[in-house]
């Protein structure tokens, strides 16, 4: 996928000014948060389960090479073919080659963020192979001129019922429907034909189980089951960090993933797929391929950002992020939005291509609090800011500004005078209100938020006054 993260500020400003999007985001806001909180209630030991999940993920990523070799061996024993891709281009090349080898003209796809990273749909189309997205949200986006997803779990969360009604009416040439069940049935009927006629199914992988050489898939719609059951070829595209040791570990992680993602105690379908169809079996693929993708992951191993490899892609961090809730996912400019995206995009797509993302956070730590595998996201964002500064990637004005601030900060009297004048100026600017709607010196800062106004005195002035009162009363 093309990286548009360099335009984050402009993208965010555009999102804030988009009245329709703001309405849709406002409508979506909070639903995931409430559902998750409700779903956690029937876990007696949420903290203990989180700790167990952290241990499981760490166990693998701390010895990732060994676990990958083990998974590869077990998968091959089941009759699967294991391939490795360094980057998106190699993913596209391998999948196109597999398709050509089996004479494939159509591919049905269950949701795969890795294929978004690689821009696989475009590559398949260029090779004359038709890719069909089958997750309802992904399908909506594909038929809407291949719009990118704005959320990793609910890709079309930025669209309203009206948007989808107009779109289906236009694309399917059917009478405009305004009920969500009717629109869902329409998509079902269109996609059923594709499920039955596609020669190849393509899925992501929520987990790879080293014990058995299996892939585990979590879905609700049943499209994941369709693409892995009906076509004669199944290709799994997944990141190298997705391995877990045992089926027991899978059970532990499954107590957290659906709850954190959609607020379900378990998703409707949870499929563990191992090897290919036996000769006397009625359904299932005859050929199974795993494409294990690096795309920047190997270079994160052992670095300051190692913990990020624990991520199980639940989306809880973005659901709880005040910045994501306000601007939506598209502004982040690449595959992964929200706090996890602001860490992953610089790591996988280049720090210089996503200069603003580590700053697209208030560091309120809501993301860190809800993360089921306890990734310290605010710490990682702060670390990325440090790296930017070390590599001289911050803009000149900011660097000069910080030098200036440092110079003043080392002169306490000058600093106190400046702070005192600044506080009084801002109070005057706010007038009777306790907030400033538009800060003329930094208008873009107040575009999507208010600036809390100082109440007149600086901290040091208040402190000094309190000390004085205390002394007088003794």
């Amino acid at each position: 996928m093309e990286i548009k993260s360099m335009r984050f500020k402009a993208n965010a400003a555009g999102s804030l000014a988009n009245v329709v999007l703001q309405g849709n985001l406002k409508n979506a806001k909070g639903k995931f948060v409430t559902k998750r909180a409700e779903a956690l209630k029937d876990l007696d030991d949420f903290e203990g389960t989180r700790d167990a999940a952290v241990a499981i993920r760490n166990k693998v990523i701390d010895n990732l090479d060994l676990w990958l070799e083990r998974f590869e061996q077990k998968a091959q024993e089941t009759g699967a073919t294991v391939m490795w891709a360094k980057d998106g281009a190699e993913v596209c090349r391998l999948v196109t080659e597999i398709a050509r080898k089996h004479g494939v003209t159509k591919v049905t796809k269950s949701k795969s963020m890795l294929s978004e990273e690689a821009g696989l749909n475009q590559a398949l189309e260029a090779a004359g192979i038709q890719p069909v997205e089958t997750d309802l949200g992904e399908y909506i986006l594909q038929v809407d001129n291949n719009e990118p997803p704005s959320h990793i779990i609910a890709p079309a969360v930025h669209k309203s019922l009206d948007d989808v009604a107009d779109l289906f009416h236009k694309v399917h040439g059917t009478p405009r429907k305004t009920e969500i069940p009717a629109l869902t049935r329409e998509a079902r009927e269109v996609l059923r034909g594709h499920f039955l006629s596609a020669e190849m199914g393509l899925s992501g992988g929520n987990f790879l189980v080293a014990e058995t050489g299996s892939v585990a898939l979590v879905t609700n719609e049943g499209n994941g089951r369709m693409v892995t059951t009906m076509p004669k070829v199944h290709v799994v595209i997944t990141g190298i960090e997705k391995v877990i040791p045992t089926l027991e570990d899978l059970s532990t992680l499954m107590r957290l993933l659906p709850r954190s993602a959609t607020g379900q105690s378990i998703s409707n379908y949870f499929s563990i797929l191992t090897g290919v169809k036996k000769p006397d079996e009625h359904d299932g693929p005859e050929h199974l391929y795993f494409v294990l993708v690096d795309s920047g992951r190997a270079d994160v191993v052992g670095t300051d950002f190692h913990a990020m490899l624990r991520c199980i892609r639940c989306g809880a961090c973005m659901n709880h992020c005040p910045v994501y809730q306000t601007i939506g996912g598209h502004a982040y400019g690449w595959v992964y939005p929200g706090p996890m995206g602001s860490v992953l995009t610089p790591l996988y797509a280049g720090m210089e291509n996503s200069i603003d993302l580590p700053h697209a956070a208030t560091l309120c730590n809501q993301c860190g609090v809800v993360c089921p595998v306890k990734i310290p996201l605010p710490d990682l964002l702060r670390k990325l800011r440090e790296k930017q500064t070390e590599r001289g990637l911050r803009p000149l004005t900011e660097r000069i500004g910080l030098r200036l601030w440092a110079w003043v900060a080392q002169r306490p009297k000058l600093y106190a005078l400046g702070a005192s004048l600044g506080a009084r100026y801002l109070k005057w600017l706010a007038g009777d209100a306790d907030r400033i709607r538009l800060l003329s010196t930094a208008p873009e800062w107040t575009l999507g938020r208010d600036f809390p106004a100082p109440q007149g005195k600086t901290f040091r002035e208040l402190y000094a006054a309190r000390q004085k009162t205390a002394k007088e009363s003794t």
């Binding site: 070799e69 490795w84 996609l191 027991e248 059970s251 191992t274 690096d294 190692h306």
Partner: protein, 219 residues
């Protein structure tokens, strides 16, 4: 250099891999694979009656409907009652494993085979069930093809009460004991297929069944 060697090489470099820490890593791996340590699980009353009750409550919470019969011979009549009451077709496909039940006596026209697109009702058994979440565990095989629980708009599953287990971990133990290795497909099913992709409004019946009906056999 192949991509495999390139990727693994950079992972090893990141981990500062050497003979010493590789040996330690292999021990950790062997211990994890043989130890199969279980994480914390929600507390549960595991008496047979309590398991059945929890399974029923959780299944209904997932929008499945539940019927309980005394013996397996009562199943065809119970399914016929359900289909008639719901105004659904009485023609169905059943997994070959269920071919021996007397469907015709209950007035049902049942073909025991794999599923086709036109099948409106699919009848299956299940390998076992999980009380914690109200979940069916389906294992694929020639006698139990996976698509029977997927293609039809109505999925009816027969659950033996003795095979309702507390946790998913127990289901893995049973599979290891009875099957040895995992079948091609293990599908855990918890209610009818659904989507929330339009305005986060849950709609039942996405690509799989619109309804799931469970017939629990007590004996």
């Amino acid at each position: 250099m192949s991509s495999r060697e390139d990727i693994l090489g950079r992972v090893r470099a990141g981990l500062q891999r050497n003979a010493g820490n590789a040996a330690v890593g292999r021990e950790v791996m062997a211990a994890a694979l043989s130890g199969r340590v279980q994480g914390p699980k929600p507390a549960m009353d595991t008496t047979p009656q309590a398991l059945l009750e929890r399974f029923r409550v959780k299944s209904e919470a997932q929008s499945s409907t539940v019927d309980i019969v005394a013996a397996v011979d009562d199943v065809p009549a119970a399914i016929a009652r359900y289909l008639t009451a719901m105004n659904l077709p009485t023609t169905a496909v059943a997994q070959p494993a269920l071919a021996t039940l007397d469907w015709a006596a209950a007035g049902l026209s049942v073909e025991a085979r794999g599923a086709r697109d036109a099948d409106m009702v699919g009848i299956t058994g299940c390998f076992c069930a999980v009380a914690e979440t109200g979940t069916l565990m389906m294992c694929s095989s020639p006698a139990t093809p996976a698509a029977v629980s997927l293609l039809p708009e109505t999925h009816i599953a027969i659950v033996h009460a003795t095979r309702i287990l507390p946790y998913m971990e127990d289901a893995w133990d049973l599979a290891r004991k009875e099957l040895g290795t995992l079948p091609r497909a293990v599908n855990f099913i918890s209610g009818p297929s659904r989507t929330g992709d339009i305005e986060q409004t849950i709609v039942l019946g996405a690509h799989g069944p619109y309804r799931v009906h469970l017939v629990i056999v007590e004996a």
